[in-house]
């Protein structure tokens, strides 16, 4: 009897634990959304990622082990584990997107010259100031500051719009990979060791 009770409590615990993981970060949807936004901002320069061909190709599996997910699938009916609709369609997001798209026309030359590149934390980083004349450095710094401000707001707003502010880190990580995989040839990005690599 005692064993049965224990089993019952244990299974309840397992179920409870499963329920808390129920709303996992919808990585595939987030990536799709990020693709659309990044494509729109970078315009013609974007390079369509070839699946698996690039070390920066996306692996958006959740961080927990796969067997755990499979177990989850067994325990929880698919309908309950349904991925929420990933919403990136709010006025604030559209505004940030428009602002970044407009700024991109000014940033483009700096990406090409290697002065700046995409960082691992989904921002723009200054890589080589010597590629820029002193007269242009003020402009570059202002643009990078404004761009990073917009990008930080974008990731926060996307997480917030989906009702999960704690997703900001996942959103950022998704965008980090998307910026890099969509960067044009010759642009620079940071690899996982934060070293600069030319695409």
């Amino acid at each position: 009897m005692k064993t049965l009770k224990l089993l019952f409590v244990a299974s309840l615990l397992v179920l409870a634990a499963c329920v808390t993981i129920n709303i996992y970060f919808p990585a595939a949807e987030a990536r799709e959304a990020a693709e659309k936004i990044v494509d729109d901002i970078l315009g013609d320069e974007t390079q369509k990622p070839e699946a698996g061909s690039d070390d920066q190709s996306m692996d958006l599996r959740p961080n927990r082990p796969v067997y755990a997910r499979n177990l989850l699938d067994l325990l929880i009916p698919p309908a309950e584990a349904a991925v929420p609709n990933f919403d990136v369609n709010t006025p604030a997001i559209r505004k940030l997107q428009a602002s970044m798209k407009q700024r991109h026309t000014q940033l483009k030359g700096f990406y090409q010259s290697g002065a700046i590149g995409f960082t691992q934390d989904a921002l723009v980083g200054i890589r080589d100031l010597s590629a820029v004349s002193l007269k242009q450095r003020g402009q570059l710094k202002n643009l990078v500051k404004a761009e990073n401000n917009d990008r930080n707001q974008l990731y926060r707003e996307i997480a917030r719009a989906n009702g999960h502010p704690e997703w900001e880190k996942d959103v950022r990580s998704t965008f980090s990979k998307t910026w890099i995989s969509n960067a044009a040839k010759g642009w620079w990005y940071q690899n996982s060791q934060r070293g600069w690599v030319q695409k």
């Binding site: 002193l134 007269k135 003020g138 402009q139 202002n142 404004a146």
Partner: protein, 700 residues
């Protein structure tokens, strides 16, 4: 060499020379050799360890002698001098002269590249004059030569430095002034200085310094200099009450970037001159006759007073420029710093002169504008916001002092892309972080006027920035407005009272009602709110009411196909982003009490049936109806509630299946019935565009 260091040097020379003389007088002729050893002697600023003096007489007029010091410490230098040797191969020791015509000094110090340097000196005891030279001091990858003289208490020191490496010199800089070192400066320094004084008093210093290839940068990259060439001359004299310094500085090469401005010294060299009065106690510093000229850009004069020990050292400052070309100064000095921000994309022309006066806490700034023009730079993809041309007048701003009134007049301008502004003038007060209109202004806008009764701005430039505006529009023709905004030409007038327009937290809110008299009816705009109006992504919300529009003129304007009758309607909860509708709840319908002649043309029937997606169907019906030009109708109506790109459609009323878009009356009776309860908004807009731009009726 600083003043205390010089004093030290002077004393050391006197000590060595005096000591030599004493020994000479005592032992001359009695012995051929003399040796002296001392363990340690010291003062508050120096310390000598293991001193050894050896004297070797060849003859009375030709003596050799050697001085060795194990360690010499000077409090002003971090590192001590070790193994100092002074060897005079050919000297003179007699009752009048102590001299060395051919001497060598050896000393090692991290600052010195080579240990050896040459020394010569002569002490004339009768006239009490000491003169000498220490030459070939290899220091900081360059060379320094010193010459000195001492004449009954009057002394003089000359320093010549050639091609010294600035970074090496600064590495020896005392702690506490590290900010100079933290900017990692590199440069070559040529220096010539003459110091003179009496006893321990410095009377005058003249110097001329030249830095070439000066580059530096702080860790944040806020202050950066590259390849600067600076020449500075100066003269310091010791007046009764203070030190007087006359100085000039020229900057002829290189670039400089600071958070406030950018300089291209090669294109626009700078000359700066002025005098400084430094109080004896180093408490006060007065700047006098300051004059800065930057070639082709700026000519300004200034003077000020500083209290050096205070938290806010600047007590008084007066600064006045000659009129300068605003466009050149903006483009060369300011735009490189502001580029990439909303302040960085203007074009300017005309002249500005500026004067600034600070007295304690009170600050006033006067700007005189002479045919000044300001406009957005045309940048692809960037909307234009504001332009003002031929502005004349004075802007007087104060902080903490008496408020003065300002006036500006302009000849023309524009708002957004093409809304033209005519000549106008504005009287206002500008003080602290506040701007306030003092007299009603009446600005021609297109063919009407914007009358402003109240305009005030508070907390300018701060997050809590707030604007308040009361005014009204004297009728602007819709024809001019629609052209200026790139719309389909409309007829009618726009007028309205705008009481209580406020701007706070990036949001414009209009409390009043804007009234448009168009198409012989009225359109009222209420609850108008806009965000980021002049930015990249303007957002607007409003409620719009339409009353008694004349369909005849409306449909002819949009070449929709003629309809006669009246039309009421509303667009509630309208939300536009980047001027595109995102949501609204709109309905347009025949007024209940409409007693006008209600007819609808074939073209309009066809267009409406296309819009409704149903209704008249089949070419038979059309060809039969084609016999009639117009049809009578009882009521028409269409409504759309837009959300997420989808329109929920309604009509004038419910039909058996679907809803009436047009409910006909009489014979032949024509009803247009819509069946689609939802419509794709972008497609609907596309259809509307096609309809309003297509030529002629399409009924076959």
């Amino acid at each position: 060499m600083s003043f205390p260091e010089f004093q030290l040097f002077q004393r050391a020379v006197v000590v060595v020379a005096g000591f030599s003389l004493l020994l000479f007088l005592k032992f001359a002729g009695a012995i051929d050799q003399f040796n002296l050893n001392i363990g340690t002697i010291s003062s508050s600023v120096w310390r000598v360890e293991r001193l050894r003096f050896a004297l070797d007489w060849g003859s009375l007029t030709d003596a050799g002698y050697r001085l060795e010091i194990g360690r010499l410490e000077l409090s002003t230098l971090k590192q001590s001098f070790d193994n100092v040797k002074v060897e005079c191969r050919r000297g003179e020791l007699n009752d009048r002269f102590v001299s060395c015509h051919e001497g060598e000094v050896q000393l090692s110090h991290p600052l010195l590249d080579r240990d050896a340097m040459t020394l010569s000196f002569e002490l004339d005891r009768d006239r009490n004059i000491l003169t000498g030279k220490l030459q070939g001091i290899s220091i900081a990858d360059g060379r320094v030569d010193l010459n000195f003289s001492l004449d009954a208490g009057n002394w003089r020191l000359g320093v010549q430095g050639k091609s010294l490496q600035l970074e090496t010199l600064l590495a020896q800089w005392p702690q506490g002034r590290r900010y100079l070192v933290d900017w990692h400066p590199t440069a070559r320094l040529n220096l010539g200085a003459q110091l003179s004084g009496r006893d321990d008093r410095l009377n005058s210093v003249k110097w001329k310094g030249e830095l070439t290839g000066l580059s530096f940068g702080d860790d944040l990259g806020a202050y950066i200099g590259e390849g600067l060439a600076i020449r500075q001359t100066g003269r310091l004299s010791n007046a009764k009450k203070n030190w007087q310094i006359e100085t000039t500085l020229t900057l002829t090469q290189g670039e400089l970037l600071t958070p406030a401005f950018y300089l291209d010294a090669a294109a626009h060299p700078i000359e700066l001159e002025g005098s400084l009065l430094l109080g004896r106690s180093f408490e006060t510093l007065a700047l006098r006759d300051g004059h800065l000229q930057q070639q082709e850009l700026m000519d300004l004069r200034f003077e000020g007073d500083l209290r050096l020990s205070a938290d806010q050292p600047l007590e008084q400052l007066k600064l006045q420029t000659q009129p300068f070309q605003a466009g050149d100064v903006y483009r060369e000095l300011l735009q490189p710093v502001w580029a990439g921000t909303s302040w960085g994309r203007f074009e300017m022309a005309g002249e500005i002169d500026l004067s600034l006066h600070l007295m304690g806490q009170a600050l006033s700034l006067d700007l005189g504008l002479n045919n000044f023009s300001l406009d957005d730079t045309q940048v692809e993809g960037t909307p234009r916001r504001l332009g003002l041309y031929d502005v004349n007048g004075e802007l007087k701003w104060n902080r903490g002092s008496e408020v003065r009134s300002s006036r500006l007049e302009w000849q023309a301008g524009h708002l957004l892309e093409r809304v033209d502004i005519g000549p106008g003038k504005i009287d206002f007060l500008a003080f602290n972080d506040t701007f306030r209109l003092t007299r009603q202004i009446r600005v021609p806008v297109l063919d009407g006027f914007l009358v402003v009764d109240r305009l005030s701005l508070e907390a300018l430039g701060m997050p809590s920035e707030k604007l308040q505006f009361d005014g009204f529009l004297e009728p602007i023709s819709m024809d001019a407005l629609s052209k200026a905004l790139g719309w389909v030409p409309l007829s009618g007038k726009l007028s309205g009272v705008i009481p209580g327009l406020t701007y706070e937290n990036g949001l414009f809110t209009v409390d009043g009602i804007l009234l448009m008299r168009i198409f012989d009816g009225e359109v009222q705009i209420e609850n108008l709110r806009t965000r980021d109006l002049f930015g990249v992504y303007p957002q607007l919300q409003a409620d719009v009411e339409l009353r008694d529009l004349d369909l005849d003129s409306l449909t002819s304007t949009f070449s929709f196909g003629k309809i006669t009758g009246r039309l009421d309607g509303y667009v509630h909860d309208l939300s536009l982003e980047n001027w595109q509708p995102v949501t609204f709840d709109a309905r347009f319908y025949t007024p209940e009490d409409d007693d006008s002649r209600r007819r609808i043309s074939q073209k309009a029937v066809d267009n409406i049936s296309n819009l409704g997606g149903a209704g008249l169907s089949g070419s038979l019906a059309r060809s039969f109806m084609g016999l009639f030009e117009t049809f009578r109708y009882k009521r028409i109506g269409i409504g759309c509630r837009l959300s997420q790109g989808v329109c929920d459609m309604v009509g004038a009323g419910e039909a058996k299946q679907g809803y009436y878009l047009v409910e006909g009356s009489g014979i032949p009776r024509i009803d247009i019935i819509g069946y689609n309860r939802t419509a794709d908004w972008p497609r609907l807009v596309e259809q509307l565009k096609q309809i309003t731009t297509s030529e002629g009726p399409r009924i076959e």
